[in-house]
Protein backbone atom coordinates (compact mmCIF):
# COMPACT_ATOMS: atom_id res chain seq x y z
CA UNK A 1 0.00 0.00 0.00
CA UNK A 2 1.48 3.35 -0.94
CA UNK A 3 2.16 5.93 1.73
CA UNK A 4 0.23 8.66 -0.03
CA UNK A 5 -3.01 6.93 0.52
CA UNK A 6 -5.35 9.17 2.50
CA UNK A 7 -8.27 7.39 4.05
CA UNK A 8 -11.15 9.00 5.93
CA UNK A 9 -14.45 7.85 7.35
CA UNK A 10 -17.55 9.28 5.67
CA UNK A 11 -21.10 8.09 6.21
CA UNK A 12 -20.11 5.16 8.36
CA UNK A 13 -17.48 3.60 6.15
CA UNK A 14 -13.87 4.17 5.13
CA UNK A 15 -12.96 5.75 1.77
CA UNK A 16 -9.70 6.64 0.11
CA UNK A 17 -9.82 10.28 -0.96
CA UNK A 18 -8.13 9.72 -4.30
CA UNK A 19 -10.41 6.80 -5.21
CA UNK A 20 -13.41 8.85 -4.15
CA UNK A 21 -12.46 11.66 -6.53
CA UNK A 22 -11.84 9.14 -9.31
CA UNK A 23 -15.23 7.51 -8.86
CA UNK A 24 -17.08 10.83 -8.65
CA UNK A 25 -15.45 11.90 -11.93
CA UNK A 26 -16.28 8.57 -13.61
CA UNK A 27 -19.90 8.57 -12.45
CA UNK A 28 -20.45 12.20 -13.44
CA UNK A 29 -19.07 11.59 -16.92
CA UNK A 30 -21.07 8.41 -17.56
CA UNK A 31 -24.28 9.91 -16.15
CA UNK A 32 -24.21 13.19 -18.02
CA UNK A 33 -22.65 11.53 -21.08
CA UNK A 34 -25.50 9.09 -21.54
CA UNK A 35 -27.99 11.83 -20.64
CA UNK A 36 -26.86 13.92 -23.59
CA UNK A 37 -27.25 10.95 -25.93
CA UNK A 38 -31.02 11.04 -25.39
CA UNK A 39 -33.15 12.64 -28.07
CA UNK A 40 -33.68 16.28 -27.14
CA UNK A 41 -36.85 17.03 -25.21
CA UNK A 42 -37.79 13.44 -24.46
CA UNK A 43 -37.77 13.70 -20.68
CA UNK A 44 -38.39 10.03 -20.07
CA UNK A 45 -35.44 8.92 -22.25
CA UNK A 46 -33.20 11.57 -20.72
CA UNK A 47 -33.93 10.42 -17.21
CA UNK A 48 -33.72 6.76 -18.15
CA UNK A 49 -30.37 7.07 -19.95
CA UNK A 50 -29.05 9.31 -17.18
CA UNK A 51 -29.87 6.73 -14.53
CA UNK A 52 -28.41 4.00 -16.74
CA UNK A 53 -25.24 6.12 -16.93
CA UNK A 54 -25.18 6.45 -13.15
CA UNK A 55 -25.44 2.67 -12.83
CA UNK A 56 -22.72 2.20 -15.46
CA UNK A 57 -20.41 4.56 -13.55
CA UNK A 58 -21.20 2.66 -10.37
CA UNK A 59 -20.21 -0.64 -12.01
CA UNK A 60 -16.97 0.79 -13.45
CA UNK A 61 -16.00 2.26 -10.06
CA UNK A 62 -16.81 -1.03 -8.36
CA UNK A 63 -14.49 -2.86 -10.74
CA UNK A 64 -11.48 -0.55 -10.50
CA UNK A 65 -11.70 0.37 -6.81
CA UNK A 66 -11.28 -2.08 -3.97
CA UNK A 67 -13.45 -1.70 -0.87
CA UNK A 68 -11.50 -0.61 2.21
CA UNK A 69 -12.88 -3.34 4.39
CA UNK A 70 -11.31 -6.31 6.08
CA UNK A 71 -13.78 -9.14 6.20
CA UNK A 72 -13.65 -12.01 8.65
CA UNK A 73 -15.94 -14.96 8.88
CA UNK A 74 -16.91 -16.50 12.12
CA UNK A 75 -18.77 -19.60 13.03
CA UNK A 76 -21.61 -18.95 15.30
CA UNK A 77 -23.85 -21.11 17.28
CA UNK A 78 -27.46 -20.07 16.70
CA UNK A 79 -28.51 -21.53 20.00
CA UNK A 80 -26.09 -19.21 21.79
Amino acid sequence: MDKNRQMVEIWGDIVDIKSLIVSIVISSITTMGLYFLAPNGNQMMELFLGLAGAVLGFIISSIIIKPKRIIDFENQDTNK
Binding site: S23, F58, T78
Partner: protein
Protein backbone atom coordinates in the same frame (compact mmCIF):
# COMPACT_ATOMS: atom_id res chain seq x y z
CA UNK B 1 -59.49 -3.81 -14.57
CA UNK B 2 -58.12 -6.04 -17.34
CA UNK B 3 -55.46 -8.71 -17.43
CA UNK B 4 -52.99 -6.44 -19.26
CA UNK B 5 -52.91 -3.93 -16.42
CA UNK B 6 -52.76 -6.65 -13.79
CA UNK B 7 -49.78 -8.24 -15.53
CA UNK B 8 -48.06 -4.86 -15.66
CA UNK B 9 -48.68 -4.38 -11.95
CA UNK B 10 -47.18 -7.74 -11.08
CA UNK B 11 -44.17 -7.06 -13.31
CA UNK B 12 -43.72 -3.62 -11.76
CA UNK B 13 -43.81 -5.13 -8.28
CA UNK B 14 -41.26 -7.78 -9.25
CA UNK B 15 -38.98 -5.15 -10.79
CA UNK B 16 -39.19 -3.07 -7.62
CA UNK B 17 -38.43 -6.10 -5.47
CA UNK B 18 -35.40 -7.00 -7.57
CA UNK B 19 -33.97 -3.48 -7.67
CA UNK B 20 -34.50 -2.74 -3.98
CA UNK B 21 -33.19 -6.06 -2.73
CA UNK B 22 -29.90 -5.14 -4.41
CA UNK B 23 -29.93 -1.56 -3.14
CA UNK B 24 -31.14 -2.49 0.35
CA UNK B 25 -28.12 -4.63 1.10
CA UNK B 26 -25.76 -1.77 0.30
CA UNK B 27 -24.96 -0.05 3.59
CA UNK B 28 -25.59 3.66 4.00
CA UNK B 29 -28.04 4.20 1.16
CA UNK B 30 -30.45 6.95 2.14
CA UNK B 31 -34.09 5.95 1.51
CA UNK B 32 -35.14 9.20 -0.12
CA UNK B 33 -32.23 9.36 -2.53
CA UNK B 34 -32.73 5.80 -3.73
CA UNK B 35 -36.55 5.78 -3.85
CA UNK B 36 -37.22 9.18 -5.36
CA UNK B 37 -35.21 9.21 -8.61
CA UNK B 38 -36.23 5.69 -9.61
CA UNK B 39 -39.91 6.28 -8.80
CA UNK B 40 -39.72 9.51 -10.77
CA UNK B 41 -38.39 7.58 -13.76
CA UNK B 42 -41.26 5.13 -13.50
CA UNK B 43 -43.79 8.00 -13.31
CA UNK B 44 -42.28 9.82 -16.29
CA UNK B 45 -42.09 6.61 -18.33
CA UNK B 46 -45.84 6.98 -18.75
CA UNK B 47 -47.01 3.65 -17.32
CA UNK B 48 -50.53 3.62 -15.88
CA UNK B 49 -50.83 5.42 -12.50
CA UNK B 50 -51.99 2.23 -10.80
CA UNK B 51 -48.77 0.50 -11.93
CA UNK B 52 -46.74 3.36 -10.47
CA UNK B 53 -48.41 2.88 -7.10
CA UNK B 54 -47.83 -0.89 -7.14
CA UNK B 55 -44.17 -0.28 -7.92
CA UNK B 56 -43.77 2.18 -5.09
CA UNK B 57 -45.49 0.06 -2.44
CA UNK B 58 -43.39 -2.99 -3.41
CA UNK B 59 -40.29 -0.78 -3.35
CA UNK B 60 -40.78 0.56 0.18
CA UNK B 61 -41.76 -2.79 1.65
CA UNK B 62 -38.70 -4.47 0.11
CA UNK B 63 -36.25 -1.69 0.90
CA UNK B 64 -37.35 -1.34 4.51
CA UNK B 65 -36.65 -4.97 5.27
CA UNK B 66 -33.46 -5.43 3.26
CA UNK B 67 -32.02 -2.23 4.75
CA UNK B 68 -32.15 -3.83 8.18
CA UNK B 69 -29.98 -6.79 7.19
CA UNK B 70 -26.55 -5.13 7.03
CA UNK B 71 -27.39 -3.50 10.36
CA UNK B 72 -27.59 -6.84 12.10
CA UNK B 73 -24.99 -8.76 10.11
CA UNK B 74 -22.14 -6.28 10.02
CA UNK B 75 -23.19 -3.32 12.14
CA UNK B 76 -23.53 -0.82 9.28
CA UNK B 77 -27.03 0.67 8.98
CA UNK B 78 -28.54 -0.05 5.56
CA UNK B 79 -30.29 3.31 5.57
CA UNK B 80 -31.59 6.09 7.80
CA UNK B 81 -34.55 4.04 9.01
CA UNK B 82 -32.46 1.16 10.29
CA UNK B 83 -30.11 3.33 12.36
CA UNK B 84 -32.34 3.15 15.49
CA UNK B 85 -31.76 -0.62 15.55
CA UNK B 86 -28.01 -0.32 15.49
CA UNK B 87 -27.32 -0.39 19.19
CA UNK B 88 -29.54 -3.42 19.86
CA UNK B 89 -28.18 -5.18 16.78
CA UNK B 90 -24.59 -4.73 17.87
CA UNK B 91 -25.40 -6.03 21.33
CA UNK B 92 -27.01 -9.18 19.91
CA UNK B 93 -24.26 -9.61 17.32
CA UNK B 94 -21.72 -9.68 20.13
CA UNK B 95 -23.73 -12.46 21.69
CA UNK B 96 -23.52 -14.37 18.42
CA UNK B 97 -27.21 -14.05 17.65
CA UNK B 98 -27.17 -12.28 14.26
CA UNK B 99 -28.85 -15.12 12.41
CA UNK B 100 -31.75 -15.12 14.83
CA UNK B 101 -31.99 -11.33 14.68
CA UNK B 102 -32.46 -11.40 10.91
CA UNK B 103 -35.34 -13.83 11.28
CA UNK B 104 -36.95 -11.68 13.92
CA UNK B 105 -36.51 -8.59 11.77
CA UNK B 106 -38.20 -10.25 8.83
CA UNK B 107 -41.15 -11.45 10.89
CA UNK B 108 -41.39 -7.99 12.48
CA UNK B 109 -41.54 -6.45 9.01
CA UNK B 110 -44.27 -8.90 8.08
CA UNK B 111 -46.30 -7.92 11.15
CA UNK B 112 -45.84 -4.22 10.40
CA UNK B 113 -47.03 -4.68 6.81
CA UNK B 114 -50.00 -6.88 7.66
CA UNK B 115 -51.25 -4.56 10.37
CA UNK B 116 -50.68 -1.22 8.78
CA UNK B 117 -52.15 -1.83 5.32
CA UNK B 118 -55.73 -2.38 6.57
CA UNK B 119 -55.45 0.19 9.37
CA UNK B 120 -54.05 2.84 7.03
CA UNK B 121 -56.83 2.12 4.51
CA UNK B 122 -59.48 2.48 7.21
CA UNK B 123 -57.94 5.67 8.56
CA UNK B 124 -57.70 7.07 5.06
CA UNK B 125 -61.39 6.34 4.51
CA UNK B 126 -62.24 8.03 7.75
CA UNK B 127 -60.18 11.13 6.97
CA UNK B 128 -61.22 11.39 3.32
CA UNK B 129 -64.30 13.61 3.94
CA UNK B 130 -61.98 16.20 5.47
CA UNK B 131 -59.46 15.86 2.66
CA UNK B 132 -60.71 18.77 0.58
CA UNK B 133 -60.66 21.08 3.60
CA UNK B 134 -57.19 19.95 4.59
CA UNK B 135 -56.02 20.52 1.05
CA UNK B 136 -57.29 24.10 1.10
CA UNK B 137 -55.25 24.92 4.15
CA UNK B 138 -52.37 22.74 2.91
CA UNK B 139 -49.65 25.42 2.90
CA UNK B 140 -50.57 26.44 6.43
CA UNK B 141 -50.36 22.78 7.49
CA UNK B 142 -46.81 22.60 6.13
CA UNK B 143 -45.87 25.64 8.22
CA UNK B 144 -47.46 24.09 11.29
CA UNK B 145 -45.72 20.81 10.43
CA UNK B 146 -42.36 22.55 10.29
CA UNK B 147 -43.03 24.26 13.63
CA UNK B 148 -44.25 21.06 15.21
CA UNK B 149 -41.26 19.03 14.01
CA UNK B 150 -38.97 21.82 15.27
CA UNK B 151 -40.52 21.62 18.72
CA UNK B 152 -39.95 17.88 19.01
CA UNK B 153 -36.51 18.05 17.38
CA UNK B 154 -33.09 18.09 18.95
CA UNK B 155 -32.31 21.76 18.36
CA UNK B 156 -35.62 23.53 18.85
CA UNK B 157 -34.59 27.17 18.74
CA UNK B 158 -32.33 26.91 15.72
CA UNK B 159 -34.95 24.82 13.92
CA UNK B 160 -37.62 27.48 14.45
CA UNK B 161 -35.28 30.29 13.48
CA UNK B 162 -34.13 28.53 10.32
CA UNK B 163 -37.60 27.94 8.78
CA UNK B 164 -37.93 31.42 7.25
CA UNK B 165 -34.32 31.77 6.03
CA UNK B 166 -34.60 28.36 4.34
CA UNK B 167 -37.86 29.42 2.66
CA UNK B 168 -36.15 32.56 1.43
CA UNK B 169 -33.30 30.50 -0.01
CA UNK B 170 -35.68 28.21 -1.92
CA UNK B 171 -37.86 31.03 -3.23
CA UNK B 172 -34.85 33.18 -4.08
CA UNK B 173 -33.54 30.49 -6.40
CA UNK B 174 -36.97 29.96 -7.97
CA UNK B 175 -37.39 33.69 -8.58
CA UNK B 176 -33.89 33.84 -10.06
CA UNK B 177 -34.73 31.06 -12.52
CA UNK B 178 -38.04 32.75 -13.41
CA UNK B 179 -36.32 36.11 -13.70
CA UNK B 180 -33.72 34.96 -16.19
CA UNK B 181 -36.34 32.97 -18.09
CA UNK B 182 -34.86 29.57 -17.38
CA UNK B 183 -38.16 27.97 -16.39
CA UNK B 184 -41.77 29.17 -16.89
CA UNK B 185 -43.24 31.14 -13.99
CA UNK B 186 -45.78 28.50 -13.08
CA UNK B 187 -43.07 25.87 -12.52
CA UNK B 188 -42.01 25.39 -8.94
CA UNK B 189 -38.75 23.49 -8.98
CA UNK B 190 -39.00 20.92 -6.22
CA UNK B 191 -37.36 17.60 -7.09
CA UNK B 192 -33.78 18.76 -7.25
CA UNK B 193 -34.12 21.10 -4.25
CA UNK B 194 -35.41 18.15 -2.39
CA UNK B 195 -32.41 16.02 -3.21
CA UNK B 196 -30.16 18.97 -2.39
CA UNK B 197 -31.56 18.85 1.14
CA UNK B 198 -31.14 15.07 1.31
CA UNK B 199 -27.54 15.10 0.14
CA UNK B 200 -26.65 18.19 2.21
CA UNK B 201 -24.85 16.49 5.10
CA UNK B 202 -22.75 14.44 2.65
CA UNK B 203 -21.79 17.57 0.71
CA UNK B 204 -20.74 19.31 3.92
CA UNK B 205 -18.64 16.27 4.93
CA UNK B 206 -16.96 16.20 1.52
CA UNK B 207 -16.27 19.93 1.53
CA UNK B 208 -14.75 19.65 4.98
CA UNK B 209 -12.16 17.36 3.44
CA UNK B 210 -11.05 20.18 1.15
CA UNK B 211 -9.81 22.04 4.21
CA UNK B 212 -6.31 20.78 4.89
CA UNK B 213 -6.44 21.08 8.67
CA UNK B 214 -9.77 19.30 9.01
CA UNK B 215 -8.65 16.61 6.58
CA UNK B 216 -5.45 15.87 8.51
CA UNK B 217 -7.54 15.51 11.64
CA UNK B 218 -9.82 12.93 10.02
CA UNK B 219 -7.24 10.72 8.34
CA UNK B 220 -7.19 7.15 9.44
CA UNK B 221 -4.84 4.25 8.76
CA UNK B 222 -7.30 1.57 9.67
CA UNK B 223 -9.53 -0.21 7.24
CA UNK B 224 -13.00 -1.09 8.43
CA UNK B 225 -12.98 -4.44 10.19
CA UNK B 226 -16.11 -6.42 9.64
CA UNK B 227 -17.01 -9.85 10.92
CA UNK B 228 -19.67 -11.79 9.09
CA UNK B 229 -21.37 -14.48 11.11
CA UNK B 230 -21.88 -17.85 9.57
CA UNK B 231 -25.49 -18.49 8.63
CA UNK B 232 -26.00 -21.93 10.01
CA UNK B 233 -29.64 -21.05 10.29
CA UNK B 234 -32.42 -23.17 11.42
CA UNK B 235 -34.46 -23.52 8.25
CA UNK B 236 -37.89 -22.83 9.69
CA UNK B 237 -39.82 -20.10 7.92
CA UNK B 238 -42.90 -20.30 10.08
CA UNK B 239 -43.26 -16.77 11.53
CA UNK B 240 -45.01 -18.02 14.65
CA UNK B 241 -42.03 -20.13 15.65
CA UNK B 242 -39.54 -17.30 15.22
CA UNK B 243 -41.14 -14.86 17.64
CA UNK B 244 -42.51 -15.44 21.10
CA UNK B 245 -46.00 -14.26 22.04
CA UNK B 246 -44.78 -11.22 23.87
CA UNK B 247 -42.77 -10.02 20.87
CA UNK B 248 -45.73 -10.50 18.54
CA UNK B 249 -48.00 -8.54 20.88
CA UNK B 250 -45.62 -5.65 21.35
CA UNK B 251 -44.67 -5.40 17.68
CA UNK B 252 -48.35 -5.46 16.66
CA UNK B 253 -49.25 -2.81 19.18
CA UNK B 254 -46.34 -0.61 18.07
CA UNK B 255 -47.34 -0.92 14.42
CA UNK B 256 -50.96 -0.18 15.25
CA UNK B 257 -50.45 3.10 17.12
CA UNK B 258 -47.87 4.41 14.66
CA UNK B 259 -50.58 4.51 11.99
CA UNK B 260 -52.41 7.24 13.87
CA UNK B 261 -49.25 9.33 14.01
CA UNK B 262 -48.56 9.24 10.27
CA UNK B 263 -47.69 12.94 10.11
CA UNK B 264 -44.64 12.48 12.33
CA UNK B 265 -41.14 11.53 11.25
CA UNK B 266 -40.90 7.75 10.61
CA UNK B 267 -37.42 7.47 12.10
CA UNK B 268 -38.50 9.49 15.15
CA UNK B 269 -41.54 7.27 15.69
CA UNK B 270 -39.44 4.14 15.28
CA UNK B 271 -37.09 5.22 18.06
CA UNK B 272 -39.84 6.56 20.31
CA UNK B 273 -42.34 3.69 20.12
CA UNK B 274 -39.73 0.97 19.62
CA UNK B 275 -37.94 1.94 22.83
CA UNK B 276 -41.18 2.52 24.69
CA UNK B 277 -42.57 -0.97 24.11
CA UNK B 278 -39.32 -2.69 25.01
CA UNK B 279 -37.51 -0.72 27.71
CA UNK B 280 -39.28 -2.26 30.70
CA UNK B 281 -38.21 -5.80 29.85
CA UNK B 282 -35.58 -6.96 32.32
CA UNK B 283 -33.67 -9.62 30.47
CA UNK B 284 -31.23 -7.69 28.22
CA UNK B 285 -31.33 -10.17 25.33
CA UNK B 286 -35.09 -10.32 25.40
CA UNK B 287 -35.26 -6.53 25.56
CA UNK B 288 -33.02 -6.16 22.54
CA UNK B 289 -34.87 -8.73 20.42
CA UNK B 290 -38.23 -7.17 21.33
CA UNK B 291 -36.91 -3.72 20.42
CA UNK B 292 -35.63 -4.99 17.08
CA UNK B 293 -38.82 -6.86 16.22
CA UNK B 294 -40.96 -3.86 17.11
CA UNK B 295 -38.72 -1.42 15.26
CA UNK B 296 -38.77 -3.60 12.19
CA UNK B 297 -42.59 -3.57 12.32
CA UNK B 298 -42.56 0.19 12.90
CA UNK B 299 -40.30 0.91 9.94
CA UNK B 300 -42.88 -0.74 7.67
CA UNK B 301 -45.95 0.69 9.36
CA UNK B 302 -44.71 4.29 9.49
CA UNK B 303 -43.80 4.21 5.80
CA UNK B 304 -46.99 2.48 4.70
CA UNK B 305 -49.35 4.74 6.66
CA UNK B 306 -47.24 7.77 5.76
CA UNK B 307 -47.80 7.15 2.07
CA UNK B 308 -51.28 5.56 1.95
CA UNK B 309 -53.18 8.03 4.13
CA UNK B 310 -52.02 11.26 2.43
CA UNK B 311 -52.45 9.67 -1.02
CA UNK B 312 -55.98 8.43 -0.51
CA UNK B 313 -57.42 10.96 1.89
CA UNK B 314 -55.71 14.25 1.19
CA UNK B 315 -53.89 14.42 -2.14
CA UNK B 316 -51.08 16.61 -0.90
CA UNK B 317 -47.90 15.18 0.64
CA UNK B 318 -48.67 15.79 4.29
CA UNK B 319 -46.31 13.34 5.94
CA UNK B 320 -42.54 12.98 5.91
CA UNK B 321 -42.80 9.80 3.84
CA UNK B 322 -45.09 11.39 1.30
CA UNK B 323 -43.08 14.57 1.11
CA UNK B 324 -39.79 12.70 0.84
CA UNK B 325 -39.44 9.28 -0.78
CA UNK B 326 -43.00 9.40 -2.18
CA UNK B 327 -42.77 12.94 -3.53
CA UNK B 328 -42.95 11.78 -7.15
CA UNK B 329 -46.40 10.26 -6.58
CA UNK B 330 -47.81 13.70 -5.74
CA UNK B 331 -45.84 16.01 -7.93
CA UNK B 332 -43.88 14.99 -11.02
CA UNK B 333 -44.65 17.42 -13.82
CA UNK B 334 -45.82 16.92 -16.49
CA UNK B 335 -47.41 13.61 -15.45
CA UNK B 336 -48.56 14.39 -11.91
CA UNK B 337 -49.17 17.79 -10.36
CA UNK B 338 -50.42 18.81 -6.93
CA UNK B 339 -53.92 19.21 -8.45
CA UNK B 340 -53.84 16.05 -10.52
CA UNK B 341 -52.00 13.13 -8.98
CA UNK B 342 -52.71 9.56 -7.87
CA UNK B 343 -55.22 10.91 -5.33
CA UNK B 344 -57.37 12.38 -8.10
CA UNK B 345 -56.78 9.71 -10.75
CA UNK B 346 -57.26 6.40 -8.94
CA UNK B 347 -60.52 5.10 -7.51
CA UNK B 348 -60.71 3.68 -4.00
CA UNK B 349 -60.84 0.14 -5.37
CA UNK B 350 -57.79 0.70 -7.55
CA UNK B 351 -55.86 1.96 -4.55
CA UNK B 352 -56.66 -1.18 -2.57
CA UNK B 353 -55.73 -3.52 -5.43
CA UNK B 354 -52.41 -1.79 -6.13
CA UNK B 355 -51.45 -1.64 -2.47
CA UNK B 356 -52.31 -5.30 -1.91
CA UNK B 357 -50.48 -6.59 -4.99
CA UNK B 358 -47.37 -4.54 -4.21
CA UNK B 359 -47.46 -5.25 -0.48
CA UNK B 360 -48.17 -8.98 -0.62
CA UNK B 361 -45.66 -9.79 -3.38
CA UNK B 362 -42.91 -7.71 -1.80
CA UNK B 363 -43.33 -8.94 1.74
CA UNK B 364 -43.53 -12.62 0.84
CA UNK B 365 -40.64 -12.67 -1.65
CA UNK B 366 -38.39 -10.50 0.49
CA UNK B 367 -39.22 -12.57 3.56
CA UNK B 368 -38.01 -15.75 1.90
CA UNK B 369 -34.94 -14.21 0.31
CA UNK B 370 -33.68 -12.48 3.45
CA UNK B 371 -34.13 -15.65 5.47
CA UNK B 372 -32.32 -17.83 3.00
CA UNK B 373 -29.61 -15.65 1.51
CA UNK B 374 -28.95 -12.78 3.93
CA UNK B 375 -25.35 -13.52 4.72
CA UNK B 376 -24.39 -14.56 1.19
CA UNK B 377 -25.73 -11.33 -0.30
CA UNK B 378 -24.10 -9.24 2.41
CA UNK B 379 -20.72 -10.89 1.85
CA UNK B 380 -20.97 -10.22 -1.86
CA UNK B 381 -21.86 -6.56 -1.37
CA UNK B 382 -19.13 -5.89 1.19
CA UNK B 383 -16.45 -7.63 -0.85
CA UNK B 384 -17.32 -6.17 -4.23
CA UNK B 385 -18.88 -2.76 -3.71
CA UNK B 386 -16.59 0.06 -2.62
CA UNK B 387 -18.08 2.86 -0.54
CA UNK B 388 -16.56 5.35 -3.00
CA UNK B 389 -18.80 4.03 -5.78
CA UNK B 390 -21.88 4.44 -3.58
CA UNK B 391 -21.08 8.06 -2.73
CA UNK B 392 -20.32 8.79 -6.40
CA UNK B 393 -23.65 7.23 -7.39
CA UNK B 394 -25.55 9.64 -5.14
CA UNK B 395 -23.65 12.59 -6.46
CA UNK B 396 -24.39 11.64 -10.03
CA UNK B 397 -28.12 11.29 -9.21
CA UNK B 398 -28.07 14.86 -7.96
CA UNK B 399 -26.16 16.18 -10.98
CA UNK B 400 -28.64 14.50 -13.31
CA UNK B 401 -31.83 15.67 -11.60
CA UNK B 402 -30.49 19.17 -10.97
CA UNK B 403 -29.56 19.54 -14.63
CA UNK B 404 -32.91 18.17 -15.78
CA UNK B 405 -34.82 20.62 -13.59
CA UNK B 406 -33.15 23.85 -14.68
CA UNK B 407 -29.83 23.36 -16.44
CA UNK B 408 -26.25 24.02 -15.41
CA UNK B 409 -27.02 26.92 -13.11
CA UNK B 410 -29.27 24.69 -11.04
CA UNK B 411 -26.38 22.30 -10.33
CA UNK B 412 -24.81 25.17 -8.42
CA UNK B 413 -28.16 26.19 -6.99
CA UNK B 414 -28.61 22.70 -5.58
CA UNK B 415 -25.03 22.84 -4.29
CA UNK B 416 -25.93 26.05 -2.45
CA UNK B 417 -28.97 24.33 -0.94
CA UNK B 418 -26.85 21.32 -0.02
CA UNK B 419 -24.24 23.42 1.78
CA UNK B 420 -26.81 25.53 3.66
CA UNK B 421 -29.23 22.76 4.60
CA UNK B 422 -26.45 20.26 5.26
CA UNK B 423 -24.85 22.67 7.73
CA UNK B 424 -28.19 23.25 9.46
CA UNK B 425 -28.73 19.50 9.51
CA UNK B 426 -25.44 18.94 11.29
CA UNK B 427 -26.48 21.55 13.83
CA UNK B 428 -29.67 19.66 14.63
CA UNK B 429 -32.32 20.89 12.14
CA UNK B 430 -33.61 17.57 10.84
CA UNK B 431 -34.74 16.61 7.33
CA UNK B 432 -38.45 16.71 8.16
CA UNK B 433 -38.32 20.40 9.08
CA UNK B 434 -36.36 21.24 5.95
CA UNK B 435 -38.75 19.33 3.68
CA UNK B 436 -41.76 21.02 5.28
CA UNK B 437 -40.07 24.41 4.82
CA UNK B 438 -39.54 23.63 1.13
CA UNK B 439 -43.26 22.96 0.67
CA UNK B 440 -44.31 25.89 2.84
CA UNK B 441 -41.89 28.34 1.19
CA UNK B 442 -44.27 29.93 -1.39
CA UNK B 443 -46.90 30.63 1.28
CA UNK B 444 -44.37 31.94 3.82
CA UNK B 445 -42.83 34.33 1.32
CA UNK B 446 -46.24 35.51 0.08
CA UNK B 447 -47.34 36.32 3.64
CA UNK B 448 -44.01 37.87 4.63
CA UNK B 449 -44.25 40.24 1.69
CA UNK B 450 -47.48 41.69 3.11
CA UNK B 451 -45.70 43.30 6.02
Amino acid sequence: MDIGILTQMVLAALAAIFIYILIGFIPGTDETSVLMPITLTVVLSGVAPIVVLTFFIAAIVTLNLTNSIPTSLVGLPGGVMSSPMLEHSLFLKDKGLSAMVIKKMSVGALIGTIISIPIALILANFLAPYGAKLQEIGPLLFVLGAIFLSLIGSNKVLSLVSIIPMSILFMALRHLYWGIGLVPEDTNITTSFFLGITIGPLIVSLFNLLNKDIREGQLTKEKKKITIPDDSLDRSLNPLRILNKNEIKRASFAALISNFLFVLSPVGLTILIGEAVSNRIEDPVNRATTAITSMSALIQSTYISGIIIPLIAIGIPLSPTAVGPGGALFNAPPVFTIDNNLHHILSRKEFVVAILIGGVLASSITYIITNRFASRITTFVLKKIPHEAILALFISFILLLAYMDAGLINIFGVLLIGISCGTLNKLGVNYGIQFMALYAAPWIIEKLALF
